[in-house]
Structures are given as C-alpha cells and as structure tokens.
C-alpha cells in the first residue's frame, strides 16, 4: 500500500478554506490522545485549553480573560503579519524572536536612560525606535542575503541567540534596576512611557492589539490590491518570472525583512511598554517562534492571521488554566503548538494535490482488469 499524489489542474478553493480547520480538528484529536497518555481526562484538558479562557464572552465576571487573550494575541499577530510578507516572497526570516527583543531594547532606551523625560512625545518616540530597532536587526540577514547570497534562515536564527544574550547582559548589567533587589530587569517605566489600556475598567488589554489589527488590514490591502503585493507574490512563487516582470529581488528581500523586522520590533516595545512596564530577561515567551505557526495557520493571509493569532494566544492562556485546574504541565503548550504546525502543513497538501491510497501494484493490476479505478 502506498500514498499517491495527483496534482490538481487548479488549486482547490474548497481546501484552501478548509485546511486550517482540518488541521485544528486533527490537533485536537492528537491533543486528546496526548492528554490521555499523560493520564488526564482529555475532555477536561481540552475544555481548559480552548473554552475556559473564552468564558468571558458570556460571563462578564471573566471578561478580564478576554483582555489577557488580546495581550497574548497582539504580538503574535503583529509578528505573523510581517512574516507572511517574508514567506510569500520566499524569504525565510525565522529570527523574529531576535527582532522582537531588539525592538524592545531600542524602544526602552528613552525610559531607561532618561527616566525624567516626561512628555507626550515619549511614547510615540519609543514605538518608532522599537520599529527602527527591529527593522535594523532584520536588515542584517537581508543585507547578507542580497550582497553575499548567504542563507537567511541560518543567519536570522543565529541572531536570535545573540539578541537574547545581549538583552540578558543589559538587564543584569548596565541597565539593571539598582533597587530591584537581585532580580534582573530595568527600572519601571514612567507613566509617560506606558502604553495605555483600551478599556482600563474592563481589563489590561493595551493599544498593541489595535496596532495589530490595523497592521493586519493594511498589509492585507497591500498584498491583495496593490502592485507591491503582486511583486512580493510573484517573486516568491516564481523568481525568474518576477525578474522577467522587471521586479528587483534584492529590493523585495529588504522590503520583506524591514517590514517584518519593524512589526516584530513594534510588538517587542509594545510588550515592554504594555503589560510588563519595564524590560526584563523574559521579555519574550517565544512569541517570535509561535508567530511562525500563526503565519502558516492563517495561510499567510493577514486576515486569517488575526484569527490564527487569537487561537494560538488561547493555547498560552489555556495552558495556564489547565495547569492550575488539572495540573497539566505548562510545557505541553509548546508541544501542542508544534503539532498544530505539522497538521497545518500536512493539510495544505490537499490544496494542490488529490491524495489517493493505492494497494500493492498486484492488487492495482487486478482492479485495472476489472475496469475499476
């Protein structure tokens, strides 16, 4: 018995829509099996993962949970929207985690170095610096790729480790809060440097979530309605045809990396200036890597990414509540996320191929004689 793929003449619109849902379904089944193996009731576990954080929808007393969801979803969406432009243009930036951290560091420069600078302009400056920092850090692998043809996958990833170590050194060294006991981390930002909450009465969700939605809509428009978006897609699908069209692959490499770096940097500074209110060594809980999963689950479409970002944010929150309620390790979250990406990629095969399961060749010959397929 073997599996055979038959290429569809046209990509299947049905399966383009259906594949993320199939992947989610398969992940839930695999997750249920995983929880059973761990000796937990799979129904309970899945409830805490995917339903409990959403009870705020109908229960006002739990509304704060929806805000927590938005807090987790904001960086995931921001980063993944940028990554979608990278991946569509065939630029494999997997260093968003590093760009996120550098954005947080550069954006924190003003509140850490000039804590007495109190003005309305502080926050906009921080956001701009955060974007600039992320973009500049992403420009390094882009430059190497364009100038020297260096593999961007490896360079962008190596720079993640460098950024993590650099941040670690900063918050334990020259930027450490002298009054922070021995905890690593900078001083708490002044109120001028804090990203405001959207509805402070209801919960902690900050403006980062709004930025994420705006970014998703703008990038969606750019990708689907403008010449720039066409350029990105052609060069990604068919580089030679893109050059024939007169597009410059080098320029698009920079465009994709700078855009995704800037969005990752913005996510980074929003995290520092939002829920955390200072810079510390745990500024990212792997958002940069989880966002890769978000980008693929959203089928590289910024609007799909909004939904995917919320789903992945759910796993973070659900992981916490499942740990508290039934004692499932919080480590299960990352395993869960990894499985999801696997299923997404597997289901995407159905968009371009029909899958046939064929018996051994002897059996097939029999079937052929009988006139059946």
């Amino acid at each position: 018995m073997r599996i055979e793929l038959v290429r569809r003449p046209q990509h299947s619109v049905l399966f383009s829509t259906l594949s993320p849902f199939m992947a989610l379904g398969l992940t839930l089944i695999a997750g249920a099996i995983m929880f059973s193996v761990l000796g937990k009731n799979p129904v309970d576990a899945l409830y805490y993962y995917f339903i409990d954080p959403l009870t705020g929808i109908w229960d006002p007393s739990n509304r704060w949970q929806l805000h927590e969801l938005a807090i987790k979803a904001a960086p995931l969406i921001l980063i993944a929207v940028g990554l979608s432009v990278c991946y569509l243009s065939n630029n494999w930036n997997i260093g968003a985690e590093g760009q996120f951290i550098v954005g947080a560091i550069v954006g924190s420069f003003i509140p850490v170095m000039f804590p007495g600078f109190h003005s309305w302009i502080v926050l906009p400056l921080m956001l701009i610096l955060g974007m600039a920092g992320g973009a500049a850090y992403a420009a390094i692998p882009a430059f190497f790729k364009v100038r020297f043809n260096t593999n961007e996958i490896l360079t962008s990833l190596m720079l993640v480790y460098v950024a993590q170590l650099f941040n670690d050194w900063l918050v334990r060294g020259i930027w450490r809060n002298p009054e922070g006991m021995s905890f690593p981390g900078t001083i708490r930002f002044s109120e001028w440097a804090i990203l405001p909450q959207i509805w402070p009465d209801a919960g902690r969700a900050h403006w980062g979530f709004v930025f994420a939605l705006v970014a998703a809509v703008l990038v969606w428009f750019m990708l689907s309605k403008t010449l720039k978006g066409f350029e990105v897609k052609v060069l990604g699908q068919s580089p030679r045809a893109g050059r024939f069209a007169g597009f410059s692959s080098g320029k698009v490499v920079f465009f994709a990396f700078l855009l995704s770096g800037a969005l990752a940097g913005l996510a980074g500074i929003c995290e520092a200036a939002g829920p955390i209110e200072h810079l510390n060594e745990k500024i990212s809980i792997g958002y940069g890597f989880t966002a890769i999963i978000v980008a693929f689950l959203g089928r590289l479409n910024p609007l799909g990414i909004v939904a995917a970002g919320i789903i992945l944010a759910l796993t973070y929150l659900g992981g916490e509540s499942a740990q508290i309620a039934i004692g499932v390790s919080d480590k299960a979250v990352r395993a869960f996320q990894g499985m999801l990406l696997f299923f997404v990629l597997a289901c995407d095969t159905l968009i371009h191929y029909r899958v046939r399961i064929v018996g051994t060749s002897g059996m097939k010959a029999e079937a052929g004689k009988a006139g059946a397929v």
Partner: protein, 521 residues
C-alpha cells in the same frame, strides 16, 4: 501476417491505455516492432508518444493492455525491468546528472557492481567504435548538448539492448550531427537491433525508417510505410487536417528601413559556472523584417536573450539600442517602455508564473507599459481593466481553456504560448524578441504564432526570433544568423541560406571557409 513474420516480431503492444485524471493520454494503442527495423512513432506534441514509450520503458504504469516481448507477455514494472528485457532508452530531455562525470552517469544505469574505471574504459572503447568520441571523466555540466546525447546513446548501447527507443533525438543536433546519428542507427540496424524512433521531422523519417505508427490525441490513427508516403500525407495523418502553410510576403526596400533594434559589440562574461560567454555580437533588425537566429541549444542563446531583454544589463549603454536610443543600461521595464516586447524560451516559471491566473500573468509583463490603464493611485491594481484585456487576448489568439481565468499551469503548452505571444502582440510592440516561439507547441498553434510574427513585422515592427527549429526559421525569417559558442554569424539572406550552410555554421565552421568534406562534429 504470415507465421514467419510473426516470429520476427520483437515487440507487440495491444490495447495499451493510460489515463491521467480524466485525460486518456494513450487510448488502446497497438504497435508492432519487428527485429532489425527502424520504426518511426509520429505524432504532434501531446499526441501521447512520450506516454507510450514511458510505459514501454517502465517509467509509467499502464492502466490496461498487453505488451509482448519476443512473443511472451511481459509486465514492465520499472526501468530496471525494461533494461533486463533488453530495452534501452535515449531521453529527449536528457536524464543526466550535471554534477557527475560521464562515467558515473553511465554507471548509474548499469545494475552490476563493475568499478567506475572499468565502465569508463568500456564506454570509451564503445564510443570510438561508433565514431562518437567521449571523455568518460569529463563533468556532464561542462559538456555541449550534442556531447550529452552521446553519453545517453553510449549508456544505452553498453546495456546491449535489442530495442533502442530514441525520443526526438535530432531536435538538439545540427544537420551534420544528425547525419552522424543516422549512420550510427543504420549500423545498429545492420547488427540486427530494433529502433523505435520518435520524431516530428518527416523528412528524416521518410529517409531512414522502415515502418511508421502515427498517433493523434492518444490514439493510433495509421500504420504505414513512410517510404510510400509524402511528407504532406504524413503531416495530414499527424494533424488530422490540412496544415495551412505560413504566408510570407517578400519585403522591399529593407536596406533603407530604420534599424529599430541594434546590438553593437555585445560581450558578456558567463554568469554562472555552467553558462556561456557572449563574444562581440553585433546585429541590426530593421522595421519590417524578421531576423532568425539559429543554433544548437546551449550556445549562448539564453544569455543573449537576457542581455537584449534587460534581465541582465550591460555596463555600456550603447551596446543595445532600441528605436535609436541607448538601452544597454536600462532594465527590462525601461526597454519595454521604449516599445520593446520579449518572449522567453521557458513558458512556465519565466514567461509566466505557473500558479497565477492568466490575468495576473498579463499584468506581469504589462503593469509598466499600461500603467495608465491598469494602475490607480498608490499602486492600486485595477482588476476589471486587466480582466477585460485578458479576455480580449484570449479571444484574439483563440486560447482554449477550461475556466474563465485559469492558472497558467492548467493550460496546454500551445495554448499558453499563444496567450504569452498574444499578451505582447496586444501592445503592438515596435521591437519583438522571441526565444523558441513554438517549442513544444502543436502544429495549428505554431502556424498561428508564426503567421502573427510575420504580420507584426510587415506592419512596421522589427522582429527577432531565436530558434533551434531550422524549419521554422526558414519559414518565417528574412535573414538567418547562427549562434555558436557565444558568437553570432553575419545574417544570411533567406534567398542564399540553405540547410547545409546554416548547419555548418551551427557546427562551428567559419562562414566562407566551410569544407563540406570536413567532419564538423
């Protein structure tokens, strides 16, 4: 058929059928090959010839039908089984490995564990005995197309097959190289081997083959003796109807017409390790004429096309001039804006993005020249205007398709090529440069494309056609140049050009010094 001739049948195929999805690529095909004959398999592109031979060589699994070898029914599960039976194949798109040496390439299709050095020695001995000299230790990536084909043939012969399948072997050779191949084939026939010879070149088939099977739309439409037929009658069998010959009215006063495309002392270093350098190429194409560039594949045609189109720019602006303006340092977009249009050799992945719709592929080459019609403020794409233009071209060029606006990859080669040519003609370009306009295209579409190129020229544009197909160039060109080893010969006016002369130039002979007795291979 008497019992005597039945015993002489090496291969009998009865009712062989292959289905891809809903397409019957081969529909109940019958074929009989006798011992010691050269049997032609004729048919248009897409008629099912390649599918049939792939089933004979075990690369494809038949859906139903029977294959008999020396009278015994056999099942050919894979190419190894075919080789064991005694079937060898020389592929059309070579099945060679560029990063490996000739001897390693040969070793890969031999099942035993003979050391490479022994194989190399055998291959060399065999190659000289057939007059196809070969250095077994050279890297395939460094070899010319003709030399690569020699490796394929030697590899096949080393397996001492009884039946040799050759898929379009002369499409990559000069006429003289092809003659050399025919000698080899006749010698093999004299040794009692059978040959299945796939071609669409009817003259060669008439000259050399003992029997022919003609296929059309997956079915066998005729078995015949090609020597009793004319080229025209064979063509009718292949196409199923009369093929309209291309009409080429003579041009007058071309010497005084304005040169719309000028190439002056164009040189280019090889861009990649396996590509060709261009050496001091000069050429003028005037308003109203079609200039053809002949040459064996891999002699710099692709590099030349890139340089003329602007995909590769030149350091010196004066090396390419379009409508009297220096264009050497302009990008392909800049050159298009001067009125030039380009059609590259590769349809899928170069001229068109395979997974994009036809309308997007129209936009691909025309967003700059038609920016007023197709683009709004801030680069907003006007989809309805593009869609209207797409449907106009589909109508104009008679592009057959399964959906209103399908993906490029869903079209047959001929229909996609009609669309790509139509996309450029729709602009009425002043200069048109086309690389292999009808490669892999069926006769009807090819005739339409050729006629439209001539008409474009006669309406006052300059047309430059690069092609490996000499018949095509003789049909449409007003003058023919030959590209060999990165150099371009002076254009020979159509009236003076012969296959013989062009063939010698393709083999690298200097114009005027060609000695017909000299072996040009």
């Amino acid at each position: 058929m008497s019992a005597d001739t039945a015993a002489a049948n090496l291969l009998e195929v009865r009712g062989l059928t292959k289905i891809f999805g809903t397409l019957k690529a081969c529909d109940a095909v019958d074929l009989t090959i006798r011992k010691g004959e050269i049997h032609a398999l004729l048919g248009e592109n897409g008629a099912g010839k390649s599918t049939l031979v792939k089933m004979l060589f075990g690369s494809l699994e038949p859906y139903s039908g029977e294959i008999r070898w020396n009278g015994q029914p056999v099942k050919i599960a894979n190419p190894n089984a075919a080789r064991k039976l005694g079937i060898g194949m020389v592929f059309q798109h070579f099945s060679l490995f560029e990063a490996l040496s000739a001897a390693e390439n040969i070793a890969l299709s031999l099942d035993d564990q003979t050391p490479i050095s022994t194989i190399a020695a055998k291959a060399q001995a065999l190659s000289y005995s057939y007059g196809l000299p070969l250095d077994p230790y050279s890297l395939v990536g460094d070899l010319s197309v003709g030399e690569r084909q020699r490796i394929e043939i030697i590899r096949c012969l080393l397996q001492t097959p009884d039946l040799i399948i050759l898929d379009e072997p002369t499409s990559v050779l000069t006429p003289q190289e092809a003659d050399k191949l025919f000698e080899t084939l006749e010698r093999l026939r004299a040794e009692g081997k059978s040959i299945l010879y796939i071609s669409h070149r009817l003259e060669e088939v008439k000259r050399m083959c003992d029997a022919a099977t003609v296929m059309r739309h997956g079915k066998v439409v005729a078995h015949c003796d090609p020597r009793q037929e004319t080229a025209a009658s064979l063509a009718r069998m292949m196409v199923g109807s009369e093929v309209h010959a291309v009409v080429r009215a003579p041009v007058e006063g071309i010497e005084t017409a304005e040169a719309l495309l000028e190439v002056r002392n164009l040189s280019r270093k090889p861009a990649t390790p396996f590509s060709m350098a261009l050496k001091n190429i000069s050429l003028n194409v005037r308003a109203g004429e079609v200039i053809g560039i002949a040459g064996v594949a891999g002699n710099g045609q692709g590099e030349f096309f890139e340089a003329v189109s602007g995909e590769a720019m030149q350091p010196d602006a004066g090396t390419i001039r379009i409508r009297g303006k220096d264009a050497g340092r302009l990008s392909i977009t800049g050159r298009r804006l001067l009125g030039a249009a380009f059609v590259p050799e590769e349809r899928l992945g170069h001229g068109a993005a395979p997974r994009m719709k036809l309308s997007e592929n129209l936009f691909l080459s025309r967003y700059a020249t038609d920016s007023k019609a197709f683009l709004g403020p801030a680069g907003f794409v006007k989809e309805s205007a593009i869609d209207a233009a797409t449907q106009r071209i589909i109508q104009e060029m008679d592009v057959r398709k399964s959906a209103r606006d399908p993906e490029a990859a869903a079209l047959s080669g001929g229909n996609l090529q009609k669309f790509i040519i139509g996309r450029e003609l729709d602009r009425r370009p002043t200069v048109m440069v086309v690389n292999q306009p009808t490669w892999g295209v069926d006769a009807g579409a090819a005739a339409k494309i050729r006629q439209s190129l001539i008409e474009l020229a006669r309406s006052g544009s300059a047309v430059l056609v690069i092609s490996q197909d000499l018949d095509e160039l003789f049909e449409i060109s007003d003058a023919i140049s030959v590209m060999h080893n990165g150099e371009l010969s002076k254009p020979l006016p159509r009236a003076e050009a012969t296959f013989e002369k062009i063939g010698l130039l393709m083999g690298g002979a200097e114009p005027g010094h060609a000695d017909p007795g000299l072996e040009s291979v």
